[in-house]
Symmetry: C2
Subunit: 252 residues, 2 copies
């Protein structure tokens, strides 16, 4: 698997969510958050997410943009048995490869769907682009697939999560990002300037500032992230010293 960044420590990913039901608001996506947290834990940096409708041109354009830029692209949705499930055919077109009913999938479905007719609709779920590896579906049988750097998964969260577990051992992973959270016990606006100076002095540590309301009023979570634990500790110490300084200045 080619890694698309200069530093070999970095493995990147994008998510492509495919589905009119997410864009209409009828279904609330639960996959983005799960995949994001999962990839972060693995040491893969999620860099972009796109949601597109069930339209071939839109799927192909987004997929080609994302697969050129990131180590992996994870897609969710559009691999069921109905006319609006066009992900497999769109992926085949994006890769310029043929697609047909895959005998490996027919065998899985024959074993799994005993007593159910393997009709035209169900055989639609057996359409796999040429050259793709199957991604086992332990929940409901019909598999996802993996072609090039694109991993095609179901949209139903329980099935998607099982598929993600299946592919995990085969994923290249980078050095895991370490993270520390410091609760500022201060308003974001009171510490923003000083925090900016700490961020500038610690360029290899990403420092995010997230305001929230605690029981008594505005408060701020400061989240520090870095791959190098010693740089992370140094930045954390600098943040804590900064917070003490600001509070002394404000007389708190």
């Amino acid at each position: 698997m080619a890694i698309s960044e200069n530093t070999p420590d970095i493995v990147t990913a994008a998510i492509l969510v495919i589905g009119d039901e997410i864009l209409s608001g009828r279904t609330k996506d639960k996959n983005i958050g799960h995949i994001a947290e999962y990839l972060t834990a693995l040491g893969i940096d999620l860099k972009e997410v796109r949601v597109v409708p069930d339209e071939e041109d839109e799927i192909i354009e987004a997929l080609n943009a994302l697969r050129a830029r990131y180590t992996y692209v994870f897609t969710t949705g559009g691999i069921g048995p109905t006319h609006d499930d066009i992900t497999a055919d769109s992926v085949a077109k994006a890769f310029g490869v043929p697609i047909d009913v895959d005998p490996r999938v027919v065998e899985i479905m024959q074993r799994r769907f005993q007593g159910m007719e393997l009709n035209e609709a169900r055989l639609r779920m057996a359409r796999i682009p040429q050259g793709a590896e199957l991604v086992t579906n332990t929940v409901s049988g019909a598999p996802g697939f993996w072609i090039g750097n694109v991993i095609v998964m179901a949209g139903v969260p329980s099935i998607m999560q099982a598929m993600l577990d299946t592919v995990t051992p085969k994923l290249a992973t980078g050095v895991r990002m370490q993270s520390e959270t410091v609760v500022a016990h201060a308003r974001e606006g009171d510490i923003g300037t000083e925090l900016g100076a700490v961020a500038k002095a610690n360029p290899e540590v990403m420092i995010g500032s997230y305001p929230f309301f605690d029981g008594t009023g505005p408060n701020t979570n400061l989240v520090l992230r870095a791959r190098d634990p010693s740089k992370l500790s140094a930045a954390k110490a600098a943040v804590e010293a900064m917070l003490a300084d600001v509070k002394a200045k404000l007389g708190r």
Copy 2:
């Protein structure tokens, strides 16, 4: 406001979510689903969503791609007082306009933040691209803004929702999409082929098929959407007739 589609009935939109915390999985996005449902109710078609990190180049590239394609682009996140809040400056660069502390915002903040220092960090929230209209923030004071066809909102859901309510009266809206849901009481795989035929015969009605598990086993929601109520009714009748046929054939 120019409408970017040929049919004047259609108003489109995209969402651009800006924030490392969504991509790391630390924060689970709650804005996409809210905005999606909200726009659908207004008669605006949400066509695409992107999530990008707090990086200027990424924000500018995504914003320029989206604002050229859709009637409106709604952004969330990155308008607070800290160094990682770079949305306003990135939007100004994308539009090629200057940005500076806006006296209208300073006035709002002076009124609102009595007893708090209007320091450098807080003044960062007053940076508004030249030519932008302000979007009132009834929750916490510091406003969003509207420039060209781009509406820049906060990332905190309660503030974002209030800002969306504020801009609603000024949005062009299309003919509202009508929707009907038919519960199939059938497995998706048993009706997929016949449903495809109904979809093909009713090209102006979007028909989505969404499997779910009810108390007893697999079931399917069929969601029909159209702007023309008579076409929607005709397609619904065709779906119901198809379901009766399939069940008769399967002996249920």
